[in-house]
Symmetry: C2
Subunit: 173 residues, 2 copies
């Protein structure tokens, strides 16, 4: 069985890095909990984040993303049962790709370049499962799409939702 | 119809860059014609190239690869008829990917990051056709594999071989 795993906001807590960097650059003090606490604060954060979003194209941004909780532990277990490909929509961010390879080598050293895919669209990759936080990557995918919970996908209802890697473990192991 | 197109030795004449750089670094004077002229010279070149092959991992190597003859003209025509994805086994060379995106933007500006894939394996991508110079990328591919002629694939007999972009044009247009 082949399993595709997304990086940002799935293996890696890119949302946390975005909040931290936004706070640093704008002198704000958003937290994940605060942003989720009301639609008004969500909108305020979105506006502020948009104003500094060009940071995603800066050298170094993707070099030190924190791990998503339990991703190392559960992906290691999944690796023993599934053929795993890491699939990241990274071609939008040209400088991110070498940083993402280094990040994978540091945190998931058993995953090699042969099983790493940087792309735009993902739905043309053949696999049994994909774990991703973006609806666009699950639509038209030929296998089963598993939606990793994120603030920006709360409206999506058509796919199995997992809220954590512990839930992925229960679902797939 | 979806068509996957490889970069190195298909869109881009990477073999020529490799010969030029090998000559420059070792003071040799190989040409494509000379290398193909005898098995002895082929082996001599392979040995010398192997000794400088680490250049593929150097910053800048993939920035200025010459175009393969007629690739711009024919791919533009193919783009009007096929859904085209560029698929390059570039994750082996971490620094190559931003250079490859720049190269595509310069020579094929209508191909965007959404339709660019940098990966290791390619056979899990769903498409009707792939044009590639490596047998390993055609085996297990679900569509039709088209082998782009190269010195290193002369032994491959199982796929439709094209010797030039003009032959691709005849075959697919």
């Amino acid at each position: 069985m082949r399993l595709l795993i997304d990086m940002d906001d799935v293996m890696a807590d890119t949302g946390q890095k975005i909040i931290d960097e936004t706070n640093k650059r704008l002198g704000t003090s958003f937290t994940k909990e605060l942003i989720r606490s009301s639609a008004e604060i969500t909108a305020d954060f979105q506006e502020k984040y948009t104003s500094v979003r060009s940071m995603l194209w800066e050298k170094g941004f993707f070099a030190d993303i924190p791990l998503m909780q339990d991703s190392q532990e559960v992906i290691k277990k999944l690796y023993d049962k599934y053929e795993i490909f890491i699939v990241s929509a990274a071609t939008e961010f040209p400088l991110s790709m070498s940083e993402k390879l280094d990040w994978l080598a540091e945190h998931f050293p058993y995953i090699t370049w042969t099983h790493t895919v940087f792309c735009g669209h993902k739905w043309m990759i053949r696999a049994d499962y994909i774990i991703d936080d973006h609806e666009k990557n699950l639509i038209n995918f030929e296998g089963k799409g598993i939606l990793f919970d994120a603030l920006h996908n709360q409206h999506v209802k058509d796919f199995t939702r997992v809220n954590s890697w512990k839930e992925v473990e229960k679902l797939l192991l």
